[in-house]
Symmetry: C2
Subunit: 246 residues, 2 copies
DNA sequence: GCTTTCTAGGTACGCCGTACGTAGAGGCGT
DNA sequence: ACGCCTCTACGTACGGCGTACCTAGAAAGC
């Protein structure tokens, strides 16, 4: 009776964190998930996400292309590893300060800093929100910060998504929404040119006045972030059915 | 003196909306940006964003691969066209109702409906926020809705980003953050499995309790959307420096 | 020591985006 | 009316991609 051999385990898991990095048999691997992730992160930082290919990473490691597949079964998993690697850059205090709002603010600032250091990460996190060990650390600390707030856990996690989503969107917006090698300056200029000439058709009166008055106050990205963050925090910490209307 | 021949116009614009669709010379084109976009949208709806390739679209149109490049100079521009095509699905009333909050709510619902009809659109909009004619229509109507609100235009546009960003993030989250052909069910199951076993290590006490209490109330996606939307609206409509703390 | 299980890596397939060149159609200036 | 000149259509080809599949050989367990 083969019952002690573990039930067939179905198919091998798709989630990389469920695959053990090493089983103990066979030759010692020459690399590790961590080192692979580090190389990939460095490459993406230097040349953009588009430069990250299995071949390239393998070459950078001095390995054969296909050897990489022993560590990273699919390219998507590489992104998971990269994301979790940069999530390791968070620095959490041993204890939340007790001031929920300012702790959340600090968390958001760290997240923004990380996304600025690794601009590709915003793109990745939005399309592949995988929760590796460092992602869990983040969630854990976040929940610790939120401990004094009297919401149920589901609501707290919804609020976390709200906050994360905002920071990521902001980072992506700040990047100018440009693809790898593109010139941000030119993109901005052309967008303004297009909007200006669209507005001249008279079909967009409100946009016209908005555009006209926009020239005045060129507020810095940081101040925009600060203001919007304040709003988001307020929204997060408002009891669920507070708003009077609708 | 060649001065009447128009100044060199620098380089051809990168923004597709700045390129005239047709100049009037030469043979009549057999296709149009609109028809191309329609084909691409249908294909992405049916087989996912990954199935959208220049070759495939051209084939679907009955055209040679390279002919497509007469209409769409780069693949990225194809995404711009697709996005603006689905943005054409918005239905705006002639006049805002005057109830800002409920008009914004309606706008958000329409946006969510569109993103549910075209799941790929969330991914695209986040990496390539291009503003085509229909995008401008949206912004215009949004500003009309916001007309009674006494913020300056910059702040209103920031608020729009907040709202858009939220809806997009929600749609992406709802999709389960899975890549084209992936099985969402399995992804969810594996994620839960991983979190469960991670929590068992005792390193994540808050997560543990959150996970334990989460089993109770399996709130529907719609109710989550509704609640979070309410918070976002509150955040948007709160005067910029209202919050007392920090 | 034998077996079993792992790692390393080469080869090859079918995709992709797109640079470039050619052929011909049709509007415009004269 | 005619010719020019610009535009469209599209085939060919290049370099790159992810990865399926296969062969060797190294080390851990019995």
């Amino acid at each position: 009776m083969p019952s002690s051999k573990t039930p067939p385990a179905a198919t091998t898991p798709e989630l990389i964190w469920l695959r053990p990095e090493r089983t103990g048999r066979g030759p010692r691997p020459a690399h590790s998930r961590a080192s692979i992730a580090a190389v990939a992160v460095a490459l993406a930082d230097a040349e953009g996400l588009g430069a990250v290919s299995m071949r390239r990473i393998a070459a950078e490691l001095g390995a054969g292309t296909m050897s990489l597949y022993n560590y990273v079964p699919k390219k998507e998993h590489l992104f998971d590893l990269m994301l979790d690697a940069v999530s390791g850059e968070y620095r959490f205090p041993d204890q939340p300060s007790g001031d929920v709002r300012s702790d959340l603010r600090e968390l958001a600032h760290q997240q923004l800093a990380i996304l600025r250091r690794h601009p590709w990460a915003a793109t990745v996190v939005v399309t592949r929100p995988s929760l590796g060990p460092n992602g869990l650390r983040f969630a854990e600390y976040y929940l610790a910060v939120m401990a004094p707030v009297p919401f149920d856990s589901g609501t707290k996690l919804e609020a976390m998504s709200l906050l994360n989503g905002f920071v990521v969107q902001f980072a992506e917006w700040e990047r100018g929404g440009v693809s790898p090698g593109q010139d941000r300056e030119q993109g901005q200029r052309e967008l303004i040119e297009y909007m200006t000439q669209a507005v001249l058709t008279g079909q967009y009166p409100h946009l016209a006045t908005a555009l006209a008055s926009a020239g005045g106050n060129p507020s810095t990205p940081d101040s925009v972030f600060e203001r919007s963050l304040g709003r988001i925090l307020t929204a997060m910490l408002t009891p669920p059915d507070q708003p009077a209307t609708t």
